[in-house]
Subunit: 245 residues, 2 copies
């Protein structure tokens, strides 16, 4: 499985993904699930993928090819040249739908799933930071003030902390900690989600990926938050009032 | 859906279930999912059910009928008369398998699921407190020193706290708090799990259900733990070290 979380805050975007994939429990691999496209000072986009790896790799390849062809002067719309983030989400959705059309019947015959989803976050000059969740059919939804985050993959373990902490006004350093804690709870309870992690942070208005970091098993910053959180949880739990019936 | 958690500790058993059922999102009802059988001083058992309500109600009815027939002097084995807790788990499993056989084909034709599972905990005179998880096929596993708890239904939200806190040596008051916190996280993040709750506590060796309590929306003990936990989490989160890249 997978766990990816994207937060859309007034202060910018935080994206965090794991790197574990599995085809059955006995076939575990490491694949990056975070991809970025950047034209510094004009736009920056980050995508995170979950679900069928063959499908999502096909989607990313198609998006990259369109970027390369546009770059080479061809008349092709790409996530780096399109008019809006909304249009970029449509392009991702269309690439997803094309992959699904191409493989669904064959995969279903083979008894395999084609389920996949993508979180896309980014900002372009003149626009605001936006976050989309693109489904397997290519349709998508956008994060709003009411729900400023999206999760894909194994989302349940790490949802309670986000429900409690994340609001649009949450500052980036706090959001980063919440994403770490959310990932930590997931890593701890579900073997199908694993280190290393990929992190991207885009401050609102910077129009670039300000932080892009692969965090290995021994990453000191993740370990610091994970350790402190575990200790605080035990402390908090120990201080709970006694139940009296 | 459902959330039920059963903890098997050296000090006894803690069982906690919600009461929400749904047939689709627009058809939500309240059904108790906790059932108990008691012969004070000789044995006490508590079962909690998840999955197809028609299946699990049928299982409970069959178990109750066997108890009533045994009580009336018929030569019928029941969970109250059988030789061991292990045998009681077999009887529950057999009742489950009978229900599945009776309805599976018809339910599958109707496109409905027959998935169901049951947590059974209890103790009889001369035996130790035991906890079983019975699957839809009637097979079952038993909680051990390594894994002293079982969850059924929406288990993911409330698993991290159990993973961190519950060991066989955990005292009952602490285990009770952990069960409350686990339920609180689930209630908060998943609408298909809802108050009121049903709680049962069996101290090791007491051979009765020492606490059996329906906790309504405004239950002061649950509210106390839920409120204190929410506050402690926010405090703990606020005290996390800053992340520095």
């Amino acid at each position: 499985m997978t766990y990816c979380v994207g937060l859309r805050l007034d202060a910018g975007l935080v994206m965090l993904s794991d790197t574990r994939t599995n085809a059955g429990l006995d076939n575990i691999s490491r694949f990056g699930k975070m991809f970025s496209w950047e034209r510094e000072g004009e736009r920056a986009l980050v995508a995170m993928t979950a679900g069928s790896l063959s499908i999502t790799q096909g989607v990313i390849t198609a998006l990259n090819e369109a970027c390369a062809r546009a770059e080479a002067g061809e008349d092709v719309e790409s996530v780096l040249t399109c008019d809006s983030l909304f249009r970029a989400a449509q392009l991702v959705g269309d690439a997803m739908a094309a992959q699904q059309r191409r493989y669904r019947e064959r995969l279903e015959e083979a008894g395999a799933g084609t389920g996949a989803s993508i979180i896309l976050g980014g900002q372009r000059r003149g626009g605001r930071a936006r976050l989309f969740l693109i489904y397997g059919a290519g349709n998508f939804i956008e994060a709003t003030e009411d729900t400023p985050f999206f999760q894909i993959g194994e989302h349940k373990y790490g949802k309670p902390i986000l429900d409690r902490v994340i609001e649009p006004s949450t500052p980036l350093p706090t959001a980063l900690k919440a994403a770490f804690v959310s990932m930590d709870s997931t890593l701890r309870s579900n073997l199908s989600v694993g280190m290393p992690l990929d992190l991207a942070v885009m401050e609102a208005g910077s129009l670039r990926v300000d932080i892009r970091r692969r965090m290995e098993q021994d990453d000191p910053e993740f370990a610091k938050v994970s350790g402190a959180w575990g200790e605080s949880l035990r402390d908090a739990f120990a201080r709970l009032p006694e139940i009296v019936f």
